[in-house]
């Protein structure tokens, strides 16, 4: 097929100019980073929008966290963990993030021992102004539930 010939409906003119890649081939490529939202994304945002109605330090908020929390733990226990990608370096990756987590935890401890009050806030005190608002809690629940889904689907 010559450059710019669009008689084949599966051929993109801008792809065939370079390597003859067809639309079908492009669509079959694994997507990196972004993917099309599915019904579980909708369910996650739906649940988050309801759960965010409950203010922290209330029984409904505790239940709203407990329900998906138990579900994720049970599902994770029932499903085998998939294989790591072939190019994964698990020990290096775990060590790298463990160091970052320990540094964060130590700084948290510094703030806690320094005062754990508005003048010496821990991370949760710093985030309180955000999580006291509905949009902040909606974002928080969405991220937290998304992480839970990710943990179950590995």
């Amino acid at each position: 097929m010559s450059n710019g010939d669009t008689s084949d409906p599966h051929t993109l003119w801008w792809c065939s100019c370079t390597d003859g890649t067809t639309l079908a081939q492009v669509l079959k490529r694994p997507q990196v980073g972004l993917r099309r939202p599915d019904r579980w994304d909708a369910a996650t945002v739906g649940y988050a929008s309801l759960a965010a109605l409950f203010t922290p330090l209330s029984a409904p908020a505790a239940v709203a966290v407990l329900l998906p929390g138990v579900l994720v733990v049970v599902l994770r226990a029932m499903r085998p963990v998939g294989d790591l990608p072939r190019d994964a370096r698990p020990y290096r990756a775990a060590a790298q993030w463990l160091v970052l987590a320990v540094v964060g935890a130590l700084w948290w401890l510094v703030a806690f021992l320094w005062g754990n009050d508005p003048e010496h806030p821990t991370l949760s005190l710093l985030l309180d102004p955000v999580l006291e608002t509905y949009p902040g809690r909606l974002l928080g629940y969405t991220i937290w539930l998304g992480a839970g889904r990710w943990l179950v689907t590995r």
Binding site: P56, R76, V81, P90, G104, E119, L151
Partner: protein, 66 residues
């Protein structure tokens, strides 16, 4: 510099470091590894799996329900 500013700056630096590692890994820098790679690796061991799940649960309770 007030204690508040010192503490907030420290937390911000930790978050920036985490984002930096994540973005560098996503950009293909082989010296850095995504959080997902570390978490997936932890899930393959019994101890690591419970540690990650408990950390996730605690995060939810601490920030959203405490």
């Amino acid at each position: 510099m007030s204690p508040y500013a010192v503490i907030a700056t420290g937390f911000a630096l930790v978050v920036v470091a985490m984002l930096g590692v994540q973005l560098a890994a996503a950009a293909g820098q082989r010296r850095f590894h995504r959080l997902g790679e570390a978490s997936h690796a932890a899930l393959t061991t019994r101890f690591g799996s419970w540690a990650v799940l408990l950390l996730w649960l605690w995060t939810g309770f601490h920030f959203l329900a405490r």
